[in-house]
């Protein structure tokens, strides 16, 4: 087209008045009245105003992923289209910046790869999919649920596995949907942090970290088994600020992480021997009389026994042998830590993903406690907190249909966030099984077996352990329903996939398990295609269930997701955050009115109300009463396999996006040059990594960031022709703790072993 005319047309298109003038001209000819009907509909008058030259509309959103930072987001929308996102400046934690993942959100919302419609697969894993209506999808699902009920006389054959794909509070409506159908089988627990949760609960009666923003007041910071440079970029600024103010920053990790690279001191601890290091330090503090006597006598229980244990069983030399860190360095570290005031330890989730993970956390807690650093601004044994999670869980709490039958055994579903543990008075309960052993539980559970599995906020075949065993277990299932955004390995094996929304198409509310901020998540754009939120799916299923069998589902059949967001608020939340109504959150996130130090009055939530070096509760639950040394898992292969988080993804989330692919388009195994040399492996060479449960192939990268006895690989991928998944090599061995507070033990993710060879 002629350039001048093209430019004129572009001007016309961009201008409301010009477009209208054109249309008026057409209307005057009468030609529009004779147009054939088709897909496009006559323009509604009000619709014309949709395309104006107005300024951006700004919406409030929150990143709902399983991440320390839970960023407050500002979303800029024009013409009903999200143009870009920014970190909210109102939150001093988010402070106007997002991470590489958060900045890519528009690429997720508008990715052509999204799942757009309900679909059913003809032959599981065949790749032969039919597009179906929501009505047909719900017809199939509801028929199956009723069939299970008729066959088994209960609904325990319906299983739910759901975790942290979306931590928006209304998403607990998935659990609510299950409750509203009857007593079901729940995969409970968490693959993330349960051993540490239990450990901190034995020690302090809770899990409550200081406000991370108060780390600026620390004089000594040990980041132990965490990699915030990848996994909590917003906390790094407080660490840097503390250092500007004179603090020393130490990183303890088996890997020389990006955080370690920025530290004043990096100590490479043998994986899983964190407890030995903490206890060695503790013994040295005893010897040097650097124990805070006031704390251990006034605010603690069982310190004398702990000290006796140290004197009898622990030496610095022993700790040096166990950890690989020279005794002199252990002594110096202990002394520096004890003499700094305040000093803090950030206990990462990585170091509790071991068979002795809970014991390791207890040992570190003890070290922080005996130096009097608990209850202090700038101090603390920082792990996580649930202080701000006191919502109504309105979407989650649903009645069972009248006459429902269920499990007669003990227990009931638990969750670390919502705190619900089922109605202990009821005759029947949901049947709970370990989320971290999904394959084994499906294989072993009978009378009745799990016949149908509902997967939400979770990617089982990437996140869960022993991928090959999961595939075998799935063969036992009669129907798999996956609710997801993208075609991941779990959807690949589903019978029905239901398309769900991104945070920008959803109403919900979010808080963090690390910082103290509260963020509203507004629906910034309409849900694309035929996607639905989790609670809209629950309502639609309820309508279908009740049409087929009145009374078979108690979930409300018509809901407004904005109203349901509102229903999550209560006076306690308003008081904690100092607001009168949720609408105030439209102006930006707000921070809880809490002191920056946890346990500021040094009153603990333990049975004794003291810090418990000796925990009878721990003993009653089968652990040592004291924070004693517990040995790690016996190696079952020549090299330890470490599979931490990448900075480009949250497990498999985000990894499929084009922006991530641009920077990180291929998985590698990282190994020490010596380890490579002994096996004749060269940089960039294709290798096999294998162990007793599986094998993967990828290229090798040589780096002395990794110890000589270990291999490093980053989690999982999907899409873009790559379903690489480290959990092919990670078995479902349990960690020592987790069952007490989350219903199931964690997983020894970093107690895995493998060998490597040229492909």
């Amino acid at each position: 087209m002629e350039k001048l005319k093209q430019k004129q047309m572009e001007k016309t298109l961009a201008c409301n008045h010009s477009r209208r003038r054109f249309l008026q001209g057409l209307l005057a000819t009468g030609v529009l009245a004779t147009m054939p009907s088709g897909l496009l509909q006559p323009l509604l008058v009000e619709a014309k105003d949709l395309l104006n030259e107005a300024e951006y509309q700004i919406f409030r959103n929150a990143c709902p992923r399983n991440c320390y930072d839970t960023c407050s987001i500002k979303s800029f929308v024009k013409d009903g289209v999200l143009q870009y996102v920014e970190g909210a400046t109102e939150s001093s934690f988010t402070a106007g910046g997002l991470c590489v993942k958060g900045n890519s959100y528009a690429r997720q919302l508008y990715s052509p790869d999204r799942i757009k419609y309900p679909m059913k697969q003809i032959g599981r894993g065949s790749g032969n999919w039919k597009r179906i209506s929501w009505d047909e999808a719900l017809e199939t699902i509801s028929s199956k649920i009723l069939e299970i009920k008729a066959k088994d006389d209960n609904l325990l054959g319906l299983g739910l596995t759901k975790y942290s794909g979306n931590f928006g509070i209304t998403h607990y409506g998935v659990e609510g949907m299950m409750s509203s159908l009857g007593y079901t089988t729940r995969f409970v627990g968490t693959p993330c942090w349960p051993a540490g949760i239990d450990a901190q609960n034995y020690d302090t009666g809770s899990m409550w970290c200081n406000d991370p923003e108060d780390m600026v007041h620390s004089k000594y910071i040990i980041v132990w088994g965490a990699n915030p440079a990848f996994c909590s970029v917003h906390t790094m600024k407080y660490i840097y600020e503390a250092r500007e103010r004179g603090a020393k920053v130490v990183v303890i990790d088996p890997l020389l992480t990006q955080t370690a690279a920025k530290a004043d001191l990096y100590l490479q601890v043998a994986a899983g021997e964190d407890g030995a290091l903490a206890l060695g330090m503790a013994r040295h503090l005893v010897d040097k009389q650097l124990v805070d006597r006031e704390f251990v006598t006034r605010y603690a229980l069982g310190y004398a026994e702990f000290e006796a244990y140290l004197k009898k069983n622990i030496t610095v030399t022993w700790a040096a042998e166990k950890t690989g860190i020279p005794a002199a360095e252990i002594r110096q570290l202990a002394e520096e830590f004890a003499r700094a005031d305040p000093a803090t330890i950030w206990i990462g989730y990585g170091m509790q993903r071991h068979v002795n993970g809970g014991a390791n956390v207890r040992a570190i807690d003890a070290l922080v406690a005996m130096t009097g650093n608990i209850g202090k601004t700038g101090g603390g044994a920082r792990y996580g907190h649930l202080q701000t999670w006191g919502f109504n869980y309105h979407a989650m709490i649903q009645d069972k249909p009248a006459g429902s039958k269920g499990w007669l055994g003990k227990g009931g579903p638990m969750g670390e966030f919502h705190g619900a543990s089922g109605d202990q008075q009821a005759k029947y309960r949901d049947r709970t099984v370990n989320i971290n052993k999904i394959a084994q539980e499906i294989l072993d559970t009978n009378d009745p077996p799990v016949r149908m599995l509902w997967v939400a906020c979770k990617n089982v075949l990437s996140q869960d352990f022993d991928t090959n065993k999961i595939k075998r277990a799935f063969e036992k299932l009669e129907l798999i329903v996956a609710v997801d955004l993208f075609f991941n390995p779990t959807v690949e094996q589903a019978d029905i996939v239901l398309p769900t929304v991104t945070p920008f198409e959803d109403w919900t509310v979010n808080v963090s398990y690390w910082h103290y901020w509260l963020s509203l998540n507004e629906q910034a754009v309409k849900p694309l295609y035929e996607t639905k939120t989790d609670i809209d799916i629950a309502a639609a299923l309820s309508k279908k269930m009740n049409a087929k069998q009145p009374g078979s589902c108690t979930f409300p059949q018509e809901i407004d997701s904005k109203q349901w967001m509102e229903k999550e608020f209560n006076q306690g939340i308003y008081d904690l955050f100092g607001i009168d109504s949720w609408q105030q959150l439209r102006q930006g996130p707000v921070k809880a009115k809490l002191k920056s130090a946890s346990f500021p009055d040094r009153k603990f939530l333990t049975p004794s109300t003291k810090y418990e070096f000796r925990s009878e509760l721990a003993a009653a639950n089968g652990h040592a009463a004291l924070p004693e040394y517990k040995a790690g898992r016996k190696a079952y292969g020549p090299l330890r396999l470490l599979t931490p988080h990448s900075k480009f993804s949250l497990h498999s989330q985000f990894q499929n996006l084009d922006w991530m692919h641009d920077f990180n388009n291929e998985p590698f195994v990282y190994l020490h040059p010596q380890t490579a040399k002994s096996r004749g492996i060269k940089e960039g060479q294709l290798v096999r990594v294998f162990n007793k449960i599986g094998e993967l192939s990828m290229k090798a990268k040589l780096t002395d960031n990794v110890p000589t006895d270990a291999l490093l690989m980053y989690e999982s991928w999907f899409g873009r022709k790559n379903n690489f998944n480290v959990n092919t090599l990670v078995d479902d061995e349990s960690s020592d703790m987790g069952a007490f507070k989350t219903g199931a033990p964690g997983v020894a993710i970093h107690d895995q072993f493998a060998d490597i060879a040229k492909a």
Binding site: K5, F22, G38, L39, D79, W129
Partner: protein, 193 residues
Amino acid sequence: MNDTQELQQLEALRDFFIARNEVQLAAAYAALNMAVSFDLPSVNDWEALEFSFNRLFIGPMAPFAPFFASVYLEPEPQVMGKSTLITRQIFEMLGLQSPWQESLPDDHLSLELDACIRLLTIRQAHSSPEVEDLWNYFLQEHLAQWLPSWFKRVRAAENLPAAILITIDVLAAWLAEKIDSLKSTDRRLAHNE
């Protein structure tokens, strides 16, 4: 090809690419067969064709060749891009809007083919320089900018069913013919000037 045939072809193509299932695919394909002057390859297994159609265009896996213009026109492939908005503006100038506004990107191939049908009808009934300019713009600066990339991508698919290939060929031939006719009009006008 006369005007009626042309519209019938476009309607059939439009319906084919927005079909939800094998029944709708088969109906649109039959209509296309009526509208073209040769026999389309027969389809023995419509269910298999539906599976292929979904792998190419719908999902749930990342579709091999999504049929949204902005996937090909934006510097980085996405839906709801700037070019989507331009399509919406063109619809508006014709007094039209998508019934799925904001839930289905406006630059879905079938919506664009529907707009072509309306524009061609308008041109037949009451043409004007303004209408011609809009048609030329939509054809040359929009459709001709993305459809060839899309054709190329579809044709590169493994095991591409003959029935899908022929629909692409019919659409490509129509586009080429329209572009040629515009160019010859431009040449004529230039010559006259």
